[in-house]
């Protein structure tokens, strides 16, 4: 077992590759043919770990030309089920092939009793679950022989048994295991609105030197609550939080998530590059404001992109 200090030091040495995009099947041909000037790509581990066909073939080509980060949705670090060693083995094999800058997943659980809800379910934030999760992070990091980076998920409820604020919970995780953090700025905004906390306070309280990556994304405002849909442009308030986080972290790798109603590649890339306008406190970028009349119902679908579209000649 490696010392948590070793993992913590490894996290602090991770590079900042710049502004990245998610690798989505809709853009496979464009990326291979045009080799666009994107700093790096984030790939959903589960989309590629079992693939012996086109997705894996494309990933190999992308990984030869761009830095890649592996982002997972099925580790289920918070579950009370045993860790899935088959899944971890495949994750390790994919990492050996792709050589990602780092591997990330979410602070969540996806199911128990061998079932999978394919959702990023909220963890109860108390001493019992902190001890449980830290123990599992240690096991995963030792198995993968590298630190793992954990993202704050969008949440739609909090438990009465929770006794620790989420930002403190994340801090304790890094202190106890040496893991890294992926700060999803949009998720902070969504969870803050849904669960009555101040997103600025949340970001201020995080251990900024453990943050190795940020996510930005669009969401659907439904009036009484917000759903993290990843299906549209980033809104004004999230860009403001990004500016704050950019300053507090001293600049880290940043990725725009867009997983539903995915636009053409150029539009997706252009939205990412807006981040450059929001890296200073002045924030001269163009803002999108949420209006009440735009409220619609929406479905939380964090794994919308996990089914292959069969290509037929």
């Amino acid at each position: 077992m490696k010392d948590k200090e070793a993992y913590s030091n490894a996290v602090k040495c991770l590079p900042n590759p710049g502004l990245g995009l998610g690798l989505r099947s809709k853009h496979f041909n464009y990326i291979i043919e045009h080799e666009p000037a994107v700093d790096w790509f984030e790939v959903i581990s589960e989309n590629f770990m079992d693939s012996g066909g086109r997705p894996r073939h494309v990933l190999r080509q992308v990984a030869e030309k761009y830095p890649v980060v592996m982002h997972g949705v099925s580790l289920s670090i918070g579950s009370t089920d045993p860790l899935n060693l088959e899944y971890l083995s495949k994750l390790k094999m994919l990492a050996a092939e792709v050589k990602p800058l780092w591997i990330s997943d979410h602070l969540c659980w996806t199911g128990v009793n061998s079932l999978n809800t394919h959702d990023l379910l909220p963890v109860v934030l108390n001493e019992e679950s902190l001890k449980h999760i830290c123990s599992r992070i240690n096991q995963v990091q030792d198995f993968l022989e590298r630190p793992v980076v954990f993202e704050n998920p969008s949440t739609y409820l909090t438990f009465k048994q929770s006794t620790i604020a989420e930002w403190d919970f994340l801090r304790y995780m890094t202190e106890e295991t040496g893991c890294g953090l992926l700060l999803d700025v949009n998720n902070v905004y969504v969870s803050g609105f849904n669960n009555d906390f101040d997103p600025v306070h949340y970001i201020n309280q995080l251990p900024h030197d453990s943050i190795v990556q940020m996510h930005i994304a669009g969401h659907q405002h439904c009036g009484d609550y917000i759903i993290d849909t990843h299906d549209r442009k980033v809104v004004n308030d999230v860009w403001k939080l990004f500016t704050l986080a950019w300053q507090l972290t001293g600049s880290v790798a940043t990725l725009l998530e867009w997983d539903s109603n995915i636009p053409e590649f150029e539009e997706y890339h252009a939205e990412l590059l807006k981040a450059k306008q929001f890296m200073s406190s002045i924030g001269s970028g163009e803002y999108i404001t949420e209006h009440g009349e735009q409220f619609e119902a929406a479905v939380s679908n964090p794994v919308d992109f996990l089914v292959n579209n069969v290509l037929i000649n």
Binding site: E46, M49, D50, S51, G52, G53, R54, P55, H57, S74, S79, T80, N84, Y87, W109, T110, G111, V112, N113, S114, L115, N116, T117, H118, D119, L121, V124, E128, S129, H132, Y156, L157, T158, F159, K160, Q161, N194, N195, D196, D224, Y225, I227, V299, S300, N301, V303, D304, L306, V307, N308, N309, V310, L311, I312, N313
Partner: protein, 272 residues
């Protein structure tokens, strides 16, 4: 009784039960079922039940959408409402046990067979047979699309000697009671096909350059290619065709150049 003394295990079992089955769970010491309000906080805008409902509604909507994506032709054939009813019942009976959504529909054809509406009747309707075959075919396509294979072997030409012909690394034969492959191709080309009548059909699914090729073939061709798939050479497969179909050897020799040309054009063969 509240949920203050729920352990982590009990809390996760409770929440999953509420999402997947919506069955209230009692704590390990029995007593009254805990309420949502016992475990979940209300917020300024939503009460505890509405907070949980966001997860509950998303669970079924998300997986239903995934099923529709994986079985797009079947959704068209059944109609969206009926497909949704079958999918919801399927997800209730066979909730996902995999870390990947690619296998979500693995048991769907089996489920449709188990729950066919005429199961108890002596006289069976025919349309369920078609739907079951179509479900199995669509799932098979998703598996073939991603199966590991050596993709860049030399493709045969018409000049390749018969003895050097071998089947492509991704090559699958299907036999159906209905024209399932034709229906699927028509659907894929937005031709809005009608439900077909029973008609035995045969097809080949290959993969070249990571794209699938779907080809309808005749019974004799299926028989011939099946023999090759079982490891026989072209010559031995032709002999089996002559004995199996009572064909004349001269007729088989006469038709073979055309078959060979079509099979090679369709990418069925590699060259050793």
């Amino acid at each position: 009784m509240g949920g203050d003394d729920f352990s982590l295990v009990e809390l996760q079992n409770w929440m999953q039960g509420m999402l997947v089955k919506y069955v209230p769970v009692t704590n390990s010491r029995g007593g009254e079922a805990v309420t949502v309000e016992d475990l979940v906080n209300s917020s300024k805008r939503l009460n505890a039940i509405r907070h949980l409902d966001i997860y509950r509604h998303s669970y079924i909507a998300r997986l239903r959408a995934c099923m529709q994506n994986q079985f797009s032709a079947l959704t068209y054939a059944l109609g969206a409402d009926l497909f949704e009813a079958f999918a919801d019942q399927f997800l209730d009976t066979y909730p996902s046990e995999s870390y990947t959504l690619n296998t979500l529909g693995e048991k769907f054809a089996t489920f449709l067979e188990e729950t066919r509406p005429d199961k108890e009747l002596n006289e069976k309707e025919t349309w369920p047979d078609f739907m079951i075959e179509l479900a199995g075919f669509e799932y098979a396509l998703s598996v073939i699309f991603d199966e590991p294979a050596e993709e860049h072997r030399p493709i045969a030409t018409e000049e390749t000697p018969d003895g050097n012909l071998r089947l492509a690394p991704v090559f699958h034969l299907f036999k159906h009671q209905y024209p399932v492959c034709k229906y699927y191709l028509d659907f894929s080309q937005q031709q809005e096909p009608e439900l077909p009548f029973p008609e035995e059909s045969y097809c080949v699914v290959t993969r070249r350059n990571y794209k699938l090729g779907l080809f309808t073939i005749r019974a004799a061709q299926y028989y011939f290619l099946l023999r090759m798939q079982q490891g026989k050479s072209v010559e031995l497969a032709k002999q089996d065709l002559i004995s199996g179909f009572k064909f004349k050897a001269d007729d088989v020799d006469a038709i073979w150049p055309q078959w060979k040309k079509n099979f090679i054009t369709s990418g069925f063969f590699d060259a050793v």
